[in-house]
């Protein structure tokens, strides 16, 4: 490489809207890899600057995940890229936004969004000016989720100031045809890194710095190589070979943002695996995560532990794990290592919902106190349609076991699956009041056909028609028939789901009640050491205290996890008459101490762990810190 180019180095930028709490893992990995090759590389988190301009609280509200589907973050920047008449924006505010928020929220979001929008032009100009002033040899722009429009606006502004600096886009918004489309639509973009850039991007940069010409590297699209030339990126096979990412740029930005530390506690991100082992065999029908790289790869437990320790020493032991699914082998390897490590780990993992007590126990001890098990619904027929590979009873068991163990379950209820049985919603509405002591879903939302999902790739197989989600028309205004090339989320129609909002209303109401009463609705065994149990039942308005017989108590013990009706009878048969057992089971079903599905049973009251209902996240955090403090003292 020429000394001149090497000195100028590379500048990677991350624009709004992205998290202010967690570092961008992909950009940090690439920055670290370039620095490892001796290439000067700066990483700018411009989202912090924007948050300072519009107010940190305003930024957090506008980017809250509750309104993610309204795409406010994209809308705020979109008029810098696609000019349009104001009445289209009025239509968005009046007809689209209210679908994603309550009336008062809409009002507040409108006000914040309009105010933020008035500051975007100056902000983007200042970002471009600051990068151009440093004269980098090349600029990388990372774009995932709601960063696309600010990123394109930035590329345009930078090109005006410094047309000689090549701009390369990368990140989840550049996967496959999305990346090809960005290159085709925007002249300001010179290249796109599509898919995993860990190998291709540093090679591309190195070759460019040596020659001054954009090289032809597999996985990087350039105009020279042809925007539609879909070269696939070689995915990383050996994740152990990746560097441990340097997050110093993120923490410098965080620390430099006034008032932020009063609102958020930053946490390092970590990935222990890529892809999805379940999806590689049975792709969940709605899932577009992983793009074209579903093949599952994980780090060795030793390598993963080294990274946990290294980052915990620098930034603290609260982690955000970005994996799509926990490696099952970790239950016997990494998790015990984390348990035995002196750092008081606290983290979130995505898992599959077929968990047993030994799994839950291993997670809790390892510091995995928040999980996202993809529960989605409480009907086995619908779970089958989406190829989830679990039953409704397994989902309820996961909610119960996690409540007992003090693990927060992060989940959303989704409805409107092609060919689902509308009657199932009445059944779920009847079931939900019995689950009020468990963790409710965060939201109740229609299923989407995300790009790369089976629904998107093969709509005819499901008899559905697709159209880009409503906000896209207002964000990518004026692109006409090309709209479908920008969209990631799609709505479906046909296959009996057009009336889904109507027929699922009963479940929506039940979910709303569940959310409202969570925290006050208790259901637990008063003293688990007693031979005859007393159940304290505050799930509904009438507070009940039920004293169980020895037989009933034994049934509850036998059904602490899912058990078959037949086995329960068999196990208790030496001591009781079959008829007696059957009558007792009926009685327990009657008072909803048990739930049943296809001749299997599960007891609902919480036992053990000291929780009377599913604890909320702040309770779990506080208890974890307290326990960590105690173990340090010990």
């Amino acid at each position: 490489m020429t000394p001149h180019e090497k000195r100028r180095g590379v500048h990677i930028v991350s624009l709004p809207f992205t998290s202010l709490q967690y570092p961008n893992l992909g950009a940090s990995l690439l920055t670290t890899a370039l620095r490892g090759r001796g290439i000067k590389c700066a990483l700018d988190y411009f989202a912090f600057d924007f948050a300072t301009r519009i107010g940190v609280e305003s930024y957090l509200m506008l980017s809250h995940e509750n309104f993610y589907q309204a795409f406010l973050g994209e809308w705020i920047f979109s008029d810098l890229v696609f000019e349009r008449p104001e009445d289209l924006d009025m239509e968005y505010l009046a007809t689209v936004l209210p679908d994603f928020a309550e009336p008062l929220e809409v009002l507040q979001l409108m006000s914040l969004a309009l105010s933020a929008r008035s500051k975007t032009r100056d902000f983007i100009d200042s970002c471009a000016a600051s990068v151009a002033a440093q004269e980098p040899a090349l600029v990388g722009v990372t774009t995932s989720f709601q960063q696309n429009l600010a990123s394109v606006a930035f590329a345009k502004a930078l090109k005006l100031r410094a047309p000689h600096i090549p701009i390369i886009f990368g990140g989840a918004n550049c996967e496959a045809e999305l990346g090809q489309n960005l290159l085709k639509q925007f002249d300001a973009i010179d290249a796109v890194c599509s898919g995993e850039g860990d190998m291709s991007f540093p090679t591309f940069v190195e070759m460019y710095l040596q020659t001054g010409v954009l090289p032809n590297v597999a996985g990087i699209l350039t105009r020279e190589a042809g925007a539609t030339d879909s070269q696939t990126t070689p995915g990383v096979l050996d994740l152990d070979a990746l560097p441990i990412p340097d997050f110093s740029d993120f923490y410098a930005s965080f620390d430099g943002t006034p008032g932020l530390s009063d609102l958020l506690q930053p946490a390092p991100t970590i990935e222990t695996s890529r892809g999805c082992w379940w999806g590689a065999k049975h792709h969940c029908t709605f899932c577009g995560l992983n793009g074209n790289s579903m093949a599952y790869r994980s780090k060795s437990p030793e390598r993963a532990l080294t990274e946990f320790r290294h980052q915990a020493d620098q930034y603290g032991a609260d982690f955000v794990v970005v994996d799509n699914i926990l490696d099952y082998a970790y239950f016997d390897s990494l998790l015990p290592m984390l348990r035995d490590d002196p750092h008081p780990y606290l983290m979130h993992y995505e898992v599959k919902s077929n968990l047993f007590p030994k799994h839950i126990d291993a997670m809790a001890k390892a510091g995995i106190r928040k999980i996202q098990p993809g529960i989605e619904t409480l009907d086995t027929g619908i779970l089958k349609l989406m190829k989830k590979g679990v039953t409704a009873l397994q989902n309820i068991q996961t909610l119960k076991l996690c409540a007992q163990a003090g693990i927060f379950v992060d989940w959303g209820f989704i409805f409107g699956f092609p060919d689902e049985d509308p009657q199932s919603y009445q059944r779920m509405a009847d079931l939900i009041p019995h689950l009020h002591h468990l963790q409710p879903p965060a939201a109740f939302a229609p299923v989407r056909a995300d790009r790369f999902s089976p629904y998107f790739s093969r709509p005819a197989d499901y008899n559905v028609d697709l159209s880009p989600a409503a906000p896209y028309r207002y964000i990518y205004a004026g692109v006409g028939e090309d709209l479908g090339q920008f969209s990631y989320h799609h709505q479906m129609s046909g296959a009996g789901i057009d009336a889904a909002h109507e027929y699922s209303r009963c479940t929506r109401t039940a979910v709303t009640n569940w959310i409202e009463c969570h925290g006050q609705a208790l259901y637990y065994i008063e003293d688990q050491t007693a031979q005859d149990f007393t159940l304290i039942d505050h799930r509904g308005p009438s507070k009940r205290r039920s004293h169980l017989s020895r037989l009933e108590s034994d049934i509850i013990r036998q059904c602490s996890c899912i058990n078959s009706y037949h086995r329960v009878v068999e196990q208790l048969a030496p001591d009781y008459e079959t008829k007696e057992i059957e009558a007792a089971i009926d009685g327990l079903l009657e008072i909803s101490a048990l739930v049943s599905e296809r001749r299997t049973l599960l007891a609902l009251p919480l036992a053990g762990g000291g929780y009377k209902c599913a604890p909320n996240w702040s309770e779990i955090r506080a208890r974890n810190l307290q326990e960590a403090g105690q173990s340090v003292e010990a």
Binding site: S19, E65, L93, L104, Q108, L114, Q146, V320
Partner: protein, 104 residues
């Protein structure tokens, strides 16, 4: 005549107007109540119009209606300022800073 200005002196509703209407409605109870009761009359007093060359601008009218309805919600029980403050706090409590679609 400036862009969007009408012959009789009123100007067509702009996004800036929308922002100031919401801002004023949050701060000023009297204005809010008047706006919820009679959005058109209040706009007229502000010399803001929702017509273009005498033809109703449906999109502007829909937006004004949506704002009036939302403000009406806020007037039930607690004050709008309090309701918005509670809302703001609950977001900050629940925000974990993650911007991601759920796995499902």
């Amino acid at each position: 005549m400036a862009d969007g200005e009408h012959k009789h002196g009123s100007k067509h509703l702009s996004l800036d107007d929308v922002q100031s209407i919401i801002g004023r409605a949050i701060m000023d109870r009297g204005f809010r109540e008047a706006f919820v009761k009679d959005p058109d009359g209040t706009l007229k007093k502000m010399q803001i119009s929702t017509t273009v060359d005498g033809v109703a601008d449906e999109k502007a009218i829909a937006l004004i209606k949506a704002i009036a309805e939302a403000l009406g919600e806020g007037n039930r029980g607690v004050s709008l300022e309090e309701a918005l403050e509670t809302l703001r706090k609950s977001y900050l409590d629940s925000a974990d800073g993650v911007i991601r679609p759920r796995c499902g």
